[in-house]
Amino acid sequence: MSFLEYAPAPESTAILDLKPEYGLFIDGEFTPAAGESFLTISPATEKPIARIANGTEADVDRAVAAARKAYEKTWSRMSGRDRGKYLFRIARLVQERARELAVAESLDNGKPIKESRDVDVPLVAAWFFYYAGWADKLEYAGVGANPRSLGVAAQVIPWNFPLLMLAWKIAPALAAGNTVVLKPAETTPLTALLFAEILQQADLPAGVVNIVTGAGETGRALVNHPDVNKVAFTGSTAVGREIARSTAGTGKKLTLELGGKAANIVFDDAPIDQAIEGIVNGIFFNQGHVCCAGSRLLVQESIHDEVVERLKSRLETLRVGDPLDKNTDVGAINSAEQLARIRELSEIGEAEGAERWSPACELPENGFWFAPTIFTNVSTSHRIAREEIFGPVLSVLSFRTPAEAIAKANNTPYGLSAGIWSEKGSRILAVADKLRAGVIWANTFNRFDPASPFGGYKESGYGREGGRHGLAAYLKEGAGAMSESAVRSRRDASPERAVLSQSTTKEEQ
């Protein structure tokens, strides 16, 4: 027998206690929706998981009204310390139910259980713990001596990290004293609904968090509702643009976290084995459904062939398959629609003359699958080097000098993240300084920490999530705050972004 064909090690779904049908979570209760319900399916098998309510405009209205009432009557009057207690309680409950949440996430989203178990859910707990600590310290958040909450926050999140994006949105909003109406993505509502049960368990006052499931129409009704004070959106640039347009002039505070086409830059003095791991993690983590994915690999010409060869042999060891198998590295594509888009762009890549390569791997018959793919001989003008594919597809480009690497990395309408691989510290700092991206990873990739701000430049959106900066998105400046222009001039002097090096993140593990 072959040892490498590890025997199946499936995580049991017995831990889940799912209802056949879920309503909307409004004012602390699950309530039926006015609209026709829809099925959420497992992308790995296409089997239905549960029936989900489709929130209409009237439902959104109810949810916003509940949030408004909770804001006026309870949450905005509660002390920061007490708000913090609720957040700590939520964080602990997430930890207690971690396995259940991980299984549900993998089932509904298609991501490998090892990622939902080791990355998503622990980060969710970390986010709530982190912002729980901020709740009674808002005057030190850097937005003035007496910062005030905004009111009702409308939050719309994507399907790639369903529960984690929920945590990124809800934790800072609640810590800052706002109430929330959140719409999870149409294809991945399950963990948000389990999270609603956690809120009930935590005895969070009714209406502080409301969860309205549905599709694009529901989201549109939510962000355009006249009684919301804040809109936070993570998703595609096209939808982000539409939201920016519709909220313009309404006085709603807006943060957008949109697409990306990150450059992962590998210099010839990189720690090569770790760089290969970083490239793999950069683009194949979560099937490449990551807005900050390192989808453009920029390799110094002198080591290009060696890197590609090593990368290919590393990809041979990736295990694609059942998301619930503990040994799976790459799971299912989230939806048929997304799979079609990945296929289309890959075919365009081939047609434009790039060389396509995938390791030999057997894909399951049912469900939505796409083998990890590398394109070499990619030019900067190819569509696969310009457009966000949002799938396990890597475009490899080369460069000769640091200046060329910087120019190519910045030559994109996006600016969310970038990676630099080099053993030379001074080079990392010099290059990072010139990259127009919100997050820059040095000798690592796709590392997240609640204390670090995350967000984009240019078409990748605006506003920051995480850290002290993430709070500012949910607060009104209090007395003694710097004027907007003073903040901006200071920001320009030292770009508001994170250079995460491993030595700094390591201590936080």
């Binding site: 490498l4 025997a7 791991e277 503990k326 491993q502």
Partner: protein
């Protein structure tokens, strides 16, 4: 200038570095190896450690671990009786289950080699290449003033030659860590070449040479990578992590790094070098992580006694307990396996 001093023209080094082998060319080559990022390496090792090896895979892994063990006793208090007892355990690891495979080798001090050879009798590999399941067992001897390596070269060579003459199939030598850390790579290199020569038997064949890097004393991963290449270039058949006398002994990241060196050497020359993590691997669970790391780094074909070994003593009994659990469905206890 000592640095321009010529070093022994070991065949591998000449092929890779060219004819004019000096301490300077050797140093330039080793210092030019790509760096190792500590956090990234440890992360990769940790992620390999999360593989879930169950049912049939676990059964295969447990048997293979036994077949890869160098069952070891390296104590000042060792006696011929203790060595005979160790050999008996190597031959019949589990008295209650004759289907249990035999270990790859017994590893003893040089003066104990004759007793080990005698006790093994027909089961002694005696220079033959062993395969899993053939029932043959090698005798490995530690040499070169193990574990510190602090003796003059003639003493180290005599120590080696003596063990080979007594019938040792494998020699586990230690490198001069003092010289390595002070940058005298040529000295370390020459010593390995000389010890390799001392492994030559009367008939011209060689005892297998395992080079112990003592990674716990080398301290940085960059040093471990350089020492791995140095040992391979000088002619080592195996690179081994530790003596077991220094903490930390074998760790998964260090072993992964050494496997990467072996993989890169194979990519470069087509030649296969063995790896032996030793010391500190006590549980089946840990040992399985090493098997996974080997298979996913250099490939499954390395899971053979001539390319991978565990230097361990207490590991065997834990594997036997796990094996019993797999066949009987319940855990027994320490009294259901024999002490050696």
């Amino acid at each position: 200038m000592t640095i321009e001093r010529a070093v022994s023209p070991a065949q591998r080094a000449v092929e890779v570095l060219g004819g004019d082998l000096t301490e300077a060319t050797l140093k330039r080559y080793l210092d030019g190896l790509p760096g190792v990022d500590t956090v990234g390496l440890e992360q990769r090792a940790a992620s390999l450690g999360t593989r879930s090896i169950k049912t049939t895979s676990k059964a295969w892994a447990l048997d293979r671990i036994i077949e890869l063990i160098d069952l070891t006793t390296l104590e000042g208090a060792d006696t011929p009786g203790k060595v005979r007892s160790l050999v008996a355990k190597a031959l019949v690891p589990d008295a209650g289950d004759p289907s249990t495979p035999r270990v790859a080798a017994v590893c003893v001090y040089g003066d104990m080699v004759p007793y080990a050879v005698e006790a093994l009798g027909d089961a002694h590999a005696a220079g033959r290449v062993t395969e899993p399941g053939d029932g043959l067992i090698n005798v490995a001897a530690v040499a070169t003033a193990f574990p510190s390596g602090r003796a003059s070269l003639p003493v180290k060579l005599a120590d080696t030659a003596d063990a080979v003459a007594a019938g040792a199939d494998e020699i586990d030598m230690v490198i001069d860590r003092g010289a390595f850390l002070s940058g005298r790579y040529g000295l370390v290199f020459d010593e390995i070449v000389a010890v390799k020569e001392a492994c030559r038997r009367a008939d011209g064949s060689f005892a297998h040479l395992k080079v112990i890097l003592e990674t716990g004393e080398l301290n940085t991963y960059d040093n471990v990578r350089r020492a791995s290449w140095l040992a391979i270039l000088a002619g080592g058949d195996f690179i081994k992590t530790s003596t077991g006398k220094v903490a930390p002994a074998a760790t998964l990241p260090v072993t992964l790094l050494m496997l990467e060196a072996v993989r890169d050497w194979h990519r470069l020359t087509g030649e296969k070098i063995g790896v032996k993590p030793a010391g500190g691997i006590r549980s089946s669970k840990d040992a399985i992580k090493y098997l996974v790391t080997v298979a996913e780094t250099v490939g499954e074909e390395w899971l053979q006694p001539h390319l991978f070994r565990f230097g361990a003593s207490s590991l065997l009994n834990d594997v036997l307990l796990q094996r019993q659990k797999l066949s009987s469905g319940h855990y027994s206890g320490a009294d259901y396996v024999t002490i050696d």
